[in-house]
């Protein structure tokens, strides 16, 4: 059970999948806020200029315009950086998109600290919390290119608001070729008897590596890719929890309100078990190369291993 090697950034997979979707479905429209080169919606824009709308640097207007388009039966995908999409336009998303349960797809890139050198102002570490708290919202965090492509297709067949969280940097391919993404269905790599790591996004490949090391050291550890953070796959979560002594969540996000928050909320009420959360420890990110930042903030297989050993040995 290992990562299958260097893949592409999830934002690149999004750009490709969106282009394909545009060819298949005439109702797809794409909106961006002056970042189409970075979010990769530029590919769609080039192929379908009449179905692409650049709103300029105005994220609140981006969400409102996408909402209006959805009211005319179009299928809007609105993209910008995660921090600006969920932060600047949060109340527009709440009032217009979620309250009215509009069929708007919010696909944001540059989430987490792997944004790198741009620093804290551009690193969304609270977007999952901000979106998860909204009624009617579905929240998805794909782990690799394959999963991202599938997510784009699956959400286009789903009616209602969806937030998809993508990244800037290349990630390892982790999902098997025959994997099929379903909203609300976690993927079990394996279930461990000692500990299970529930991860999302780039942390899935790190969880896999950590589990490999732990197994070598005699600690049977499983890995679950919880790519849908909302609705949470509580069935899988219960199964993993009942099987082991410790649940560890791993996310490139604040430990408050994101995956760790969702898992803790559910398990504390339904199956109290030891939990450790790995993520940003109530701290902002900072500038630096993505690899160095991951180490600096403890988003590494080594830190997952250390955390599990501290509790279990």
């Amino acid at each position: 059970m290992e990562g299958k090697g260097q893949g592409i950034a999830t934002r690149d997979a999004y750009g490709e999948a969106l282009l394909e979707l545009g060819k298949k479905r005439a109702e797809v429209v794409v909106l961006d806020a002056d970042l189409s080169g970075s979010t990769k919606t530029g590919k769609f824009a080039k192929a379908f200029p009449e179905r692409f709308y650049n709103l300029g640097v105005s994220e609140q207007d981006l969400i409102g315009t996408a909402s209006g388009l959805s009211l005319t039966g179009k299928l809007p995908f609105a993209s910008t950086f995660a921090v600006f999409e969920t932060g600047r336009a949060w109340e527009q998303i709440r009032q217009t998109v979620c309250y009215s349960n509009l069929n708007v797809k919010l696909v944001a890139t540059h989430s987490g600290i792997t944004v790198g050198e741009d620093g804290a102002s551009h690193q969304a570490i609270e977007d999952v919390a901000l979106m998860r708290v909204l009624p009617n919202m579905t929240v998805i965090v794909p782990s690799d290119g394959n999963e991202t492509r599938q997510v784009v297709n699956v959400i286009s067949d789903y009616r209602g608001p969806v937030y998809v969280r993508l990244g800037r940097t290349k990630v390892l391919d982790v999902m098997p070729d025959d994997y099929e993404f379903k909203i609300g269905k976690a993927y079990i790599f394996n279930i461990g008897k000692d500990a299970n790591i529930v991860a999302m996004g780039i942390m899935v490949s790190m969880a896999i590596e950590a589990a490999r090391v732990l197994k070598r050291d005699g600690i049977d550890t499983g890995v679950v890719n919880m790519s849908t953070v909302k609705p949470l796959d509580t069935k899988t979560l219960l199964k993993a929890s009942r099987a082991c002594k410790l649940i560890v969540t791993a996310e490139e996000h604040s430990i408050i309100g994101g995956l760790g928050g969702a898992v803790s909320e559910f398990l504390s009420e339904n199956y109290p078990v030891k939990i450790r959360r790995i993520g940003l420890m109530d701290d902002f990110g900072c500038s630096g190369p993505p690899e160095e930042l991951l180490k600096f903030y403890g988003l590494t297989p080594e830190n997952i291993v250390k955390t599990i050993k501290e509790v279990l040995t």
């Binding site: 002056d34 189409s36 970075s38 650049n54 640097v57 105005s58 620093g119 804290a120 102002s121």
Partner: protein, 280 residues
């Protein structure tokens, strides 16, 4: 508007601006990422502020009576860092640490980490509101300090900028002078193609501002505009500075792709030659 500034003063400022451009290019090359075009387009304006107009004390960054500068277009951090270093806020050698892990010179300015930065910016559209608040506060305290706020032209597409535009006029913030770096470009292309912001002078006038329209690379015009702004009563002033993105390096000038990429070593060599050699 005539000022008592001499040709020698203007020459001094031009030389400072030249060195600031050199420092911008050197630190960006060293960092390997960052915003080249929008830093260079503001070099003359920021030079005039830090080396002519603003009252500030680099050794006493929190001096109560200082004038304030808010870099609303935070991605132009290198121009601010160069101005702060050359003013003496910190050692010039720090410029080489831009964007590296642990450096106080974050990709976008961070007031918690660096002396002289009034407020962290980088998420566009927020600076003018902050400048308004400071301007109101200074008036409440009876201080004569002035507030300067630098915005990008693409940045003015943010709704909050226009909320702030109303506020400044409503509260007659004549101790506030904003500047738009009107370089005509944003990330996805020309502002006129992405989201038209014209007629820019008429818009700000309609919002109740006193507008001065200048060539943002003509040092004498810049200095005169800042002096003129100081004489305006009961209104905030907007200086629409017509600039060229990437100004000072011929092969960066007016090119949209040089928004967010940095010079290669070879480009740095050529750029330094164009700028008349490494003065720093």
């Amino acid at each position: 508007m005539k000022s008592d500034i001499t040709t020698r003063d203007i020459d001094f400022l031009k030389e400072k601006a030249r060195i600031i451009r050199i420092e911008i290019l050197k630190m960006l090359t060293e960092a390997g990422s960052g915003h080249t075009g929008g830093s260079l387009s503001t070099a003359d304006i920021v030079t005039a502020l830090y080396f002519y107009k603003m009252r500030h004390k680099p050794k006493d960054p929190k001096w109560r009576e200082r004038d304030r500068f808010i870099l609303s277009k935070g991605h132009a951090a290198p121009v601010l860092y160069a101005a702060l270093a050359l003013s003496g806020y910190f050692d010039k050698s720090l410029l080489n640490t831009l964007r590296k892990l642990g450096s106080p010179l974050q990709g976008h300015p961070c007031s918690k980490m660096l002396q002289g930065v009034e407020i962290s910016t980088g998420s566009l559209g927020q600076g003018l509101s902050i400048a308004n608040g400071i301007a109101i506060g200074l008036k409440l305290d009876g201080l004569a300090s002035r507030v300067y706020c630098l915005l990008g032209d693409g940045e003015t597409q943010e709704g909050q900028v226009w909320e702030a535009a109303m506020t400044a006029a409503h509260y007659r913030l004549d101790n506030l002078c904003a500047i738009i770096d009107n370089n005509g470009l944003q990330i996805d292309g020309y502002c006129s193609d992405v989201m038209c912001i014209e007629p820019i002078v008429d818009k700000w006038e309609a919002f109740g501002w006193y507008v001065i329209d200048i060539n943002g690379h003509d040092m004498e015009a810049i200095v005169n505009a800042f002096n003129e702004a100081e004489t305006v009563k009961n209104k905030p002033t907007m200086i629409v500075a017509r600039t060229v993105k990437g100004k000072g390096v011929s092969f960066f000038e007016g090119k949209v792709q040089y928004h967010g990429i940095t010079p290669t070593r070879e480009e740095l060599e050529r750029a330094l030659k164009e700028l008349g050699g490494d003065g720093g």
